[in-house]
């Protein structure tokens, strides 16, 4: 399943790495990409293991707020 989060708090391109590697190290996440310019966070994950709330919490742990977006 693909979930799209949006954060408008990304303030330097290097924060992308932090969020990405934090998400990618979680079990149940196949692939996470963070686009700095648009602030879009795309996550391929198994909804059984990782819920939308888990994703939001992981992004928050990296120091940024995000919301789930329909597209």
């Amino acid at each position: 399943m693909k979930t799209i989060l949006r954060s408008d708090e990304l303030n330097c391109p290097s924060c992308v790495n932090n969020i990405e590697s934090n998400l990618n190290s979680m079990e149940g996440i196949e692939n996470a990409t963070v686009k700095f310019n648009s602030g879009k966070i795309e996550v391929e994950h198994d909804p059984e293991l990782v819920t939308e709330d888990d994703l939001l919490a992981a992004v928050q742990e990296s120091g940024y707020s995000a919301t789930v977006s329909p597209f």
Binding site: R6, D8, E9, L10, N11, C12, P13, S14, N17, N18, S21, N22, S25, K35, F36, N37, S38, G39, K40, Q60, E61, S62, G63, Y64, S65, S69, P70, F71
Partner: protein
């Protein structure tokens, strides 16, 4: 007072936590200075500075640690080392200032960046979340993205249209600025296409749903704009390569200088200025703002690379006359072949005088039953001037003309051979008129009434009203070479070129020949853009550095394939697109220069002993903010 639990939840939220940390550390620094400067209590002052460092450094160290856990060294790590190093050698105020400024800078940058990203966020929020679907006698509200094809959706005046579709019933005007960038509302009646996210203004309409959710034109536009913003421009890739070496390089320099000078303060100051902040954000900020602004004006640019290319365009080719013309013929000339035969002063007494008005009148009657595009143009022009009755009898002679009868009169409208076929004499004067108009690229039809030629009409696919000004504008912004590549005849092409103000015309062109012309321009050192519909002339369009598609609203192919897609048919958007690209390119260059000068100046300053930790961080953060603010200028720059 807020309760402890409230405080904890505020602290858990990254946004409010930043504010708390900033406020506390800022206050500690202020009070610390008060103790040191006014009270002379250095110990208390130093303690407060340490407190400020720890508070402001909390997040920084956390992020540095997270990075380390993921085997990454980041900027936060450098700042953490510098701050801890500063505390260990007793420069408490400098450590406090470094962490506080880093946090404050980050917060300010986020705020300004949010402002930049807002353009797109607003677009996303344009689409209503729900739709009112008509089910038999009543309506039901369902999530907009669940509207299936062919469902009937009710849109009240003032409401936003939730899906793409066709008006089934009702009339209204719709503000389509979200899609087209055009602020003047468009009139909609049954059969008209409407788009999700546009505003229904004054009438209730029922829309037969076409596409919903992520398939709508607006969603496609947003997706396209985001992809464009995230696509890295060549300058950005170059900068990122540079930045990848820059940070480790500075760390190395810091270690080496410590080994040689044994100066810890110099070493950690180097770490502070090792953040390539302004450099890495210099290009993205301009690209985000430039592409966002263009999107708002109905111009979709595919990405930073295309933006940079478009900014360098020096030649522009129109792939057909159709891009410069209305796309439908209009009556441009009416001539009478029976000028006034009356004695001066007796005009009123001569009822059958054939004026140009009368020529058009009879031609209009004859064409009233025809569906031919030329007939429609004649009828439209005739009706705009006078009341035109319908013919009593009508016969169409495909490819030649029409014959019609009205109140005992027999009217013929058609080309020269049609007239000769009906034994109408085409005299020398008539032939002269026909030739003169043909030379100007007109299609000429003759009108005969009761066996005698009375006049004729010149028809032409007229140029768009905004074409000459758009061409002039293109010259003004420095597009030196403007050419028309067309399959049309010489006279038509020349005539259109003359009217819009283009000298370089290639007519009767085959697709391969168009391709060759583009290649030749490139060989001459030009960066070439081409305006076309993206399908017929794929070959030449791919050869061009930038392909521009016009009137792309509603056609996904154009939105997805063109390098620059203009949502409307407004020719003025072409110079605007190229101008915005040039502005953005210049903005990127300014930002890169600002960033590089700052880095160089800081390095020199540190080794000259003029710049210390706090000052270095201040200059660094200021340069980041300067670059962001410069990029944001693109939003409103005229």
């Amino acid at each position: 007072m807020i309760s402890f639990n409230q405080f904890i939840s505020l602290f858990k939220n990254p946004t409010s936590r930043k504010k708390i940390l900033l406020a506390v550390s800022g206050m500690s620094i202020t009070v610390g200075w008060f103790f040191i400067g006014v009270m002379g209590d250095t110990f208390a002052g130093d303690m407060l500075m340490i407190l400020a460092t720890v508070v402001a450094g909390y997040e920084i160290i956390q992020k540095a640690w997270l990075g380390l856990k993921n085997r990454q060294t980041n900027i936060e790590l450098l700042v953490s080392i510098a701050a801890i190093g500063g505390l260990s050698i007793g420069i408490y105020w400098e450590s406090a200032a470094v962490t506080f400024l880093f946090l404050l800078g980050g917060w300010l940058e986020t705020r300004t960046l949010q402002n930049t990203r807002k353009t797109l966020k607003n677009l996303v929020e344009l689409v209503p979340k729900t739709a009112k679907v008509v089910r038999g006698e009543k309506t039901e509200t369902i999530p907009a993205r669940q509207v299936a094809k062919d469902m009937l959706v009710e849109v009240k005046p003032g409401g936003r249209i939730p899906v793409d579709g066709e008006v089934e019933s009702g009339e209204s005007s719709v503000d389509e600025s979200a899609i087209t960038g055009e602020s003047i509302p468009t009139d909609k009646k049954p059969g008209s296409q409407v788009y999700a996210g546009t505003i229904n203004q004054n009438g209730r309409i029922f829309v037969r749903a076409g596409r919903a959710g992520a398939d709508t034109t607006l969603a496609k536009i947003i997706e396209r704009v985001e992809e464009a913003q995230d696509a890295k421009a060549p300058t950005q890739r170059f900068i990122e390569r540079f930045a990848r070496w820059y940070t480790p390089g500075i760390v190395g320099l810091s270690v080496i200088s410590f080994i040689f000078t044994q100066n810890i303060e110099l070493a950690i100051t180097l770490l502070v200025i090792g953040c390539p902040g302004a450099l890495v954000i210099s290009t993205p900020i301009s690209v985000i703002t430039g592409i966002g602004r263009a999107a708002k004006e109905g111009i979709l640019i595919k990405g930073g690379e295309y933006l940079e290319n478009a900014g360098k365009i020096s030649a522009l080719a129109f792939d057909k006359t159709g891009t410069l013309t209305q796309g439908k013929p209009r009556v441009t000339e009416v001539f009478s072949l029976q000028p006034e035969k009356v004695v001066a002063g007796h005009e009123e007494a001569e009822p059958e005088r054939i004026t140009e008005h009368k020529v058009l009148y009879w031609a209009g009657i004859a064409e009233s039953g025809s569906e031919h595009p030329l007939a429609k143009a004649i009828l439209e022009e005739a009706r705009s001037r006078q009341e035109i009755p319908n013919a009593d009898t009508f016969e169409s002679h495909t490819g030649f003309g029409v014959s019609a009868g009205y109140m005992e009169n027999k009217v013929l409208v058609g080309n020269r051979s049609f007239m000769e076929e009906w034994n109408i004499r085409v005299d020398k004067e008539a032939l002269q008129q026909v030739e003169a108009l043909s030379e100007k690229g007109r299609t000429v039809v003759l009108v005969a009434k009761n066996g005698e030629l009375i006049g004729g009409l010149g028809l032409f696919d007229t140029i768009r009203a905004d074409a000459p000004s758009a061409i002039k504008r293109l010259r003004e912004i420095g597009i030196e070479e403007l050419i028309i590549l067309t399959g049309d005849t010489d006279s038509t092409a020349q005539s259109i070129a003359g009217e819009v103000g283009i000298n370089n015309v290639h007519s009767r062109m085959l697709p391969e020949e168009k391709y060759n012309v583009i290649e030749k321009l490139k060989a001459d050192g030009h960066r070439v853009a081409m305006v076309g519909d993206g399908i017929n002339d794929a070959l030449a369009l791919t050869a061009a550095d930038i392909g521009i598609a016009m009137g792309a609203a509603g056609t996904d192919v154009a939105i997805e394939s063109a390098d620059i897609a203009l949502m409307t048919d407004d020719l003025g958007k072409i110079p605007e697109a190229l101008r915005l690209s040039k502005l953005t390119l210049r903005n990127i260059h300014q930002n890169v220069v600002i960033a590089l000068i700052t880095v160089a100046a800081l390095l020199v300053g540190v080794f000259a002993g003029e710049v210390h930790m706090a000052g270095g961080m201040l200059i660094h953060e200021l340069s980041v903010l300067l670059v962001i603010l410069n990029g944001m200028r693109l939003k409103w720059m005229a």
